[in-house]
């Protein structure tokens, strides 16, 4: 029996669960090239296509550049399109990634986040996605397997919303999320069909009504095209909330753009993205038991950045300790911290900011890292200034 028919939670590897969610979403084209740690997602999809469970065209391309090129083509032809990649694969794909949002092609891509070479490393951090941060796609970070599964379906619904029509990247931590066996409750197929009707669009290559896509944008129009695309991305935020709310109504699992945990009276708030967030909640519980006024803010939506939601979530805190899983060589802060500091700059009652880089290239992120961070923040003294990021646990 197919796991997606189970009405109870199934113990399954998260990568396979994502592939099953793509099946439930009835994707029509999958073009992908396998790369660790994304491999199990596309391997399982090719199984599902081969054994007839998913009626889709699986295009086994020869590189990631070809993978997304094929996806651009199939999405432009009006097909519901999925791909997945990681690290060096995303680097090879980069040239194509920036095209999809401008052409308004609603491709969904899972990125199993992994470090970029050198040195060669197959393990998790966020350096791959941060290097193409400005690609213009809607971007999520999944926290656990259930969320990654649900978010796959939500991503298609959101991407194809007539008011959105933008590609979506679903980030999931390589190995520490992608290769975990976890209990997953699969959304029933009939309800998925209700939530995600077949993709229909007039914005496609149709031989009866031909159009040209992928045009030259001369200086006279380039600025306007970029502005139009960014307007669309910024405006998509309310449809993200709408897609979450409708998912919550149908399936009973409600997601938010920004999650808060025990932040109400928190003096120090840790800010995280991705699968370390749940571990951080356990650390918060343990610190609370020891009397620390600490809370957690977890960004689920990364682009468009949930500006107002973030500001509201951290209001009242004395310290923000922002965690980055990537750093910006030659700059004193990682990308997430830099952005949040910029967003807080004009706030009248802004917290002291500090930045901690951790979990690079697969280094484990245990609870005590978060406790260490809070201890460091408390020791900053009256100025509250950190001055430069701290790489937690670096041996030097």
């Amino acid at each position: 029996m197919s796991v997606t028919k189970s009405t109870k939670p199934v113990g399954i590897e998260v990568s396979l669960a994502i592939a099953e969610a793509v099946k439930l979403a009835e994707a029509e084209v999958v073009a992908a090239y396998p790369i660790t740690p994304q491999t199990h997602i596309v391997e399982h999809l090719s199984d599902l296509v081969a054994n007839g469970e998913l009626s889709a065209e699986y295009v086994p391309v020869e590189s990631e550049q070809s993978a997304l090129s094929a996806c651009l083509g199939s999405s432009a032809a009006g097909a519901r399109t999925f791909t997945a990649t990681s690290s060096q694969g995303l680097m090879l794909m980069a040239e194509m990634v920036f095209i999809a949002p401008v052409l308004r092609l609603p491709i969904v891509m899972a990125v199993a986040n992994r470090a970029i070479s050198a040195p060669i490393n197959i393990w998790n951090d966020h350096s791959d996605i941060m290097s193409i941060r400005d690609c213009g796609w809607i971007q999520f970070f999944a926290e656990n397997g259930q969320e990654a599964t649900d978010m796959t379906i939500i991503s298609f619904r959101l991407a194809e919303d007539k008011n959105v029509m933008l590609p979506v990247i679903l980030n999931l931590d390589g190995f520490t999320l992608s290769h975990f066996i976890e209990p997953i409750l699969f959304p029933p197929q009939d309800k998925v069909r209700k939530y995600l009707p077949p993709y229909q669009t007039a914005h496609k290559l149709d031989i009866t009504k031909p159009i040209s896509m992928g045009l030259l944008g001369a200086p006279e129009v380039f600025t306007e095209i970029k502005k139009a695309t960014d307007n669309a991305l910024v405006a998509s935020k309310k449809y993200v909330s709408k897609a979450f709310d409708e998912f919550g109504k149908i399936f009973g699992r409600q997601y938010k753009l920004v999650e808060t945990y025990k932040t109400d009276d928190a003096e120090t708030i840790i800010v995280t993205m991705g699968s370390i967030s749940e571990t951080a909640t356990v650390a918060v519980d343990e610190m609370r038991e020891a009397g620390e006024k600490v809370g957690l803010v977890h960004l689920r939506l990364w682009r468009p950045f949930p500006v107002d939601e973030l500001r509201a979530a951290v209001r009242g805190a004395k310290h923000l300790a922002v965690v980055d899983r990537h750093f910006t060589p030659g700059f004193p802060e990682g990308p997430v911290a830099t952005e949040i500091r910029a967003l807080m700059y004009h706030e009248a009652d802004r917290p002291k900011m500090s930045n901690f880089i951790l979990g690079l290239g697969g280094r484990d992120v245990p609870r005590n890292h978060f406790k260490y961070i809070v201890e460091q923040v408390k020791g900053l003294g009256a100025s509250g200034r950190q001055g430069h990021y701290e790489m937690v646990g670096v041996l030097e």
């Binding site: 290769h179 975990f180 066996i181 749940e278 909640t281």
Partner: protein
């Protein structure tokens, strides 16, 4: 929550053991989480796998540093890895070995309760291959009370298919019947 660490060698099924035990636990209504020590996969190299089973949702995703139980699928790993590292004071070692617990305690200086089971002999006899995972699952399930032969039937069926599942079920049950916690 119970935290279990598996030590074996690539190809012996340490990762599969953790996975199948997690699927078994989820199948019987519990929460569980299993993951390998990630890296290049090489047959024969020492490998570690991790398993958490709980009645509550599991949030922590760090490696297991202080396990309640350590399962050793290949006794030769004990010569190259400190398998009891971080084991809780109340912890238990479940070791595939033809030797009695006392002998292992003397050789490696273990201070914990030990269960030994000659999993290699059972595997060779029942499965005809030196893969000890389902045998060790049987020993673990009995000693720690985390699963019964009925609980594992479906996960074994899904994993091994109709040809191999009955033999693995038999291997599990042989260990389940014979494994005894050291007094």
């Amino acid at each position: 929550m119970i935290e279990i660490r598996f030590h074996g060698r690539g190809g012996q099924g340490a990762v599969t053991s953790a996975e199948l035990m997690a699927q078994t636990a989820v199948g019987s209504g519990k929460y569980a989480q299993a993951f390998p020590s990630f890296g290049p996969e090489r047959r024969g190299a020492p490998v570690t796998a991790f398993l958490r089973i709980s009645d509550q949702p599991i949030r922590v995703r760090e490696k297991i540093y202080n396990p309640d139980v350590v399962v050793v699928l290949d006794p030769s790993v004990m010569n190259v890895t400190k398998v009891d590292a971080g084991l809780k004071d109340s912890g238990v070692l479940i070791i595939n070995s033809a030797h009695p617990a006392g002998a292992l305690r003397q050789q490696y200086g273990f201070k914990w309760k030990i269960t030994t089971i000659d999993a290699l002999s059972i595997a060779l006899e029942v499965l005809k291959v030196p893969i000890t995972n389902t045998v060790m699952m049987g020993a673990l399930s009995k000693v720690m009370g985390v699963a019964t032969p009925d609980d594992v039937r479906e996960p074994l069926q899904n994993r091994f298919g109709p040809a191999l599942a009955p033999k693995n079920q038999e291997a599990f049950e042989r260990a389940y019947a014979n494994a005894k916690m050291e007094a």
